[in-house]
């Protein structure tokens, strides 16, 4: 069975609630069958609105959404066959776990034996066998979350939407649930559209991530690409940590450029700049800049240590470098003895291709 590439398709979708502000602008998004796509973005970026339009609780102001090539804007939510996991679980408090899971099957008039089988299977999938007679109120947050996931999957929907499902859980539980959801996704191969504002969650779970800001998808790519190769300064800023230099292009040639800063000049990788004189923000990941580099690197600067914070597995060092006093370095905790002391001047080096010259902020 070949996978359909545009199983879910947002085609030029706009959405406005008040007729004045567009919360989603010209959204185009293709989601492959069986893919785990995360919509990531700060609050108010339009990601939940997109999910609600896909679920059918909001209608697009303009454009069309296709599910398996069929336009779905005029199909009411209950006929779309899309499973959904809500932020606060939305388990029916007056029904037992079993009844909650049986609900989607009963409304589909499935025979009682089949319901029993399917519910049992779904419960064992989320390792909650034997909890069928409990009421949701008697379960812990993590268990309720699993019931909600099982309920969204029990009727074999083609797409499952998850709206910040782990937001209410504590950190450890959230992490273990991330793996659990990822494994469930891998084992049954359902298409998942996941909404979160937690980048760690997005990076851990997704095949692809759509970074939302200001109603637009800023970048849609796999987690590693998103981190390594952000296409604009919002993505670079939003995903992971990031050191920036603001400057102006003074020279550009052969896939590298020179950026003139207030104090000094650096060599960078031109991503979204094209000509001399353009303003730019250069982004460098903290772990890509090294102290006393052994290999030859095309950027070498001296910086003064302003702050040292011990983090166990690594030490964060804040430097004053080329007039930027917020330059962060991550030094792995190894036996290597570096002279990291407050006030010391040290040599810093990085490769120009790791310094990405992006759009100005």
């Amino acid at each position: 069975m070949s996978k359909k590439e545009d199983f879910v398709k947002f085609d030029k979708v706009d959405k406005s609630y008040d007729g004045k502000v567009l919360v989603v602008k010209d959204l185009n998004l293709d989601i492959e069958e069986g893919e785990f796509v995360t919509m990531l973005g700060p609050s108010g970026s339009g990601k939940t609105t997109c999910l609600m339009m896909l679920a059918g609780f909001e209608t697009p102001t303009n454009g069309e959404i296709y599910l398996d090539k069929n336009p779905i804007s005029n199909i009411p939510p209950h006929k779309r066959g899309i499973g959904m996991v809500f932020q606060n679980y939305a388990l029916f408090p007056h029904m037992t776990v079993f009844e909650n899971l049986a609900f989607p099957l009963r409304v589909r008039k499935i025979s009682k034996d089949d319901i029993d089988k399917k519910v049992e299977k779904a419960l064992s999938m989320v390792s909650l066998s034997g909890f069928g007679n409990r009421m949701p109120g008697q379960l812990s947050g993590g268990q309720q979350q699993r019931v909600a996931v099982a309920r969204a999957l029990v009727f074999d929907p083609s797409v499952v939407l998850m709206d910040e499902p782990l937001g209410a859980l504590d950190k450890n539980l959230r992490e273990s649930m991330q793996y659990e959801i990822k494994h469930i996704h891998e084992s049954i191969g359902v298409t998942v559209v996941y909404v979160t504002h937690d980048q760690g969650e997005a990076l851990t779970m997704s095949n692809r991530i759509a970074v939302f800001n200001d109603g637009k998808v800023q970048q849609l790519s796999s987690p590693d690409k998103l981190y390594e190769e952000p296409v604009n300064s919002f993505v670079a800023e939003f995903i992971g940590e990031n050191n920036t230099f603001v400057g102006e292009i003074s020279d550009i040639s052969n896939g590298s450029c020179k950026v003139k800063l207030d104090k000094g000049e650096i060599i960078a990788n031109p991503i979204s700049v094209k000509s001399v004189g353009e303003k730019t923000t250069v982004s460098i990941r903290p772990e890509r800049a090294l102290i006393n580099p052994k290999d030859k690197m095309d950027n070498n600067q001296k910086g003064k240590i302003e702050e040292v914070i011990y983090h166990g597995d690594h030490t964060r060092v804040r430097l004053n470098l080329l007039g930027n006093s917020e330059f962060i370095l991550k030094v792995p905790n190894s036996s290597q003895n570096l002279d990291i002391k407050l006030g010391n001047e040290i040599d810093i080096g990085w490769n120009s291709r790791d310094a990405r010259a992006l759009d100005p902020k």
């Binding site: 006929k79 939305a90 609900f103």
Partner: protein, 417 residues
């Protein structure tokens, strides 16, 4: 585990339980002192009046105390034939004192309740007894009026012998105990109380039903509208609350009377002919309309407070799982509002069952309820013991309804806010 380790000691070596009790004693006393005023208030204004009502409703000491010697002498009498001379003598002596103290009128009234025509007989005796000679009172009394020869009248006196009676309760359901001491129904054309009881229940039931049907959508709207609209709507719901009950009822009178606004409107749109205006007031229709409007907030508020707590994502979840909006409503939303429905219905029903002013003003003859009858006996006939008996019957009815409700729905499920 040995028994020694089971007893946990505090750091000072005192058993933990004792230590805890000691520590909390002060708080308990404080808490009790805080509720004491309310407790006293409840006892004085609620428990004591109910107890007083109860004793009043069964109290029948008045006649017993007025005729002490008579009842003592009557102890031996079997009531089959005319009583012996001792009873006549005792009655004469008792009655003489009453006449002297000018309290004979009360006895006359009380005994007339028991047997019609007793009053005139007694009045005549009061006049004649002054000239009585000593001895052979039986003959002398029977001389005064021939009815004294009728054993029925003596039996009527004897029936009032016990200090306590349940006859008021029997009267409340249109029954009485007849001359033979059997409990029978009153004549069919005099059974007004039963009509009133059943009408009260009927009105309370339908008012509750109408309130529910109207309040449910309003409460839902209140719970789901955006804040600025729901506040306005809430004020509209509460506005009647802030208006005097009398004013509201009076405005219904203006609206519903035959030359009133509603009738004018019906005539204007051609629904009814001008010379054939329907009567919407001074009957049950008026009672229904006015009571439903007045009691509506008591249904809206508990429903609203319950609906407010139901997350909108539950309905969405229901729909996303494949339920049509109707199925999602009846399977998900409606069951979650049952605590509010229970609270609202119980509240409205109990208030409606004892409603007084509205039916008194707009009810007319066919729209008055049992509470109006109670008020009538309080104010007009001054038969307070009967009014008390009916009040207690009403209270018992309410408690029974509460008990049934508890069995069916469970009081824990009530949610008032």
């Amino acid at each position: 585990m040995s028994s020694e380790t089971q007893k946990i000691l505090s750091t000072d070596g005192i058993p933990l339980e004792e230590s805890l009790k000691k520590a909390e004693k002060k708080n308990k006393i404080k808490a009790f002192l805080l509720v004491t005023p309310l407790l006293l208030f409840l006892i004085i204004t609620y428990i004591v009046p109910i107890a007083d009502m109860f004793s009043r409703s069964i109290d029948d000491k008045m006649v017993t105390n007025m005729l002490p010697k008579t009842y003592k002498a009557m102890e031996q009498w079997d009531g089959k034939e005319l009583p012996p001379e001792e009873v006549f003598e005792a009655f004469y002596l008792d009655y003489k004192i009453l006449v002297k103290n000018k309290t004979a009128g009360k006895l006359q009234t009380q005994l007339n309740y028991e047997k019609n025509g007793f009053k005139s007989v007694l009045k005549k005796l009061a006049r004649k007894q002054k000239k009585f000679e000593e001895g052979n009172y039986k003959e002398q009394i029977m001389e005064v009026h021939k009815r004294w020869r009728n054993v029925e009248y003596w039996r009527a006196i004897k029936r009032r012998a016990p200090a306590y009676t349940y006859s008021k309760y029997l009267k409340g359901v249109d029954m009485y105990s007849n001359e033979d001491g059997k409990i029978v129904q009153v004549a069919e054309d005099r059974r007004i109380h039963r009509i009133l009881w059943s009408r009260t229940l009927e009105v309370a039931f339908f008012v509750t039903l109408f309130c529910f049907l109207m309040a449910y959508p309003i409460a839902h709207l209140l719970a789901t509208l955006p804040m600025k609209y729901s506040n306005l709507l809430m004020i509209c719901v509460l506005l009647p609350f802030w208006t005097s009950l009398l004013v509201r009822t009076a405005s219904w009178m203006i609206l519903l009377q035959q030359q009133g606004i509603v009738n004018d409107f019906f005539v204007w749109i051609g629904l009814v002919a001008d010379d054939n205006r329907p009567e919407m007031m001074y009957n049950k229709t008026g009672t229904y309309v006015a009571m439903t409007q007045i009691l509506l907030p008591f249904m809206v508020l508990p429903l609203y407070s319950v609906m407010k707590t139901i997350s909108p994502s539950l309905m969405r979840a229901g729909k996303s799982l494949g339920a049509t909006p109707a199925v999602a409503f009846f399977k998900v939303y409606f069951p979650l509002t049952i605590p509010g429905i229970g609270a609202g219905c119980l509240l409205v029903f109990i208030l409606a069952i004892g409603y007084y002013i509205t039916p008194a003003l707009v009810g007319g003859a066919s729209g008055t309820l049992i509470s109006n009858q109670i008020a009538y006996h309080m104010k007009s006939t001054l038969d307070w013991s009967f009014a008390s008996a009916m009040g207690l019957m009403l209270l018992t009815g309410v408690l029974v309804i509460y008990w049934i409700y508890n069995k069916l729905v469970g009081v824990d499920n009530i949610k008032l806010g």
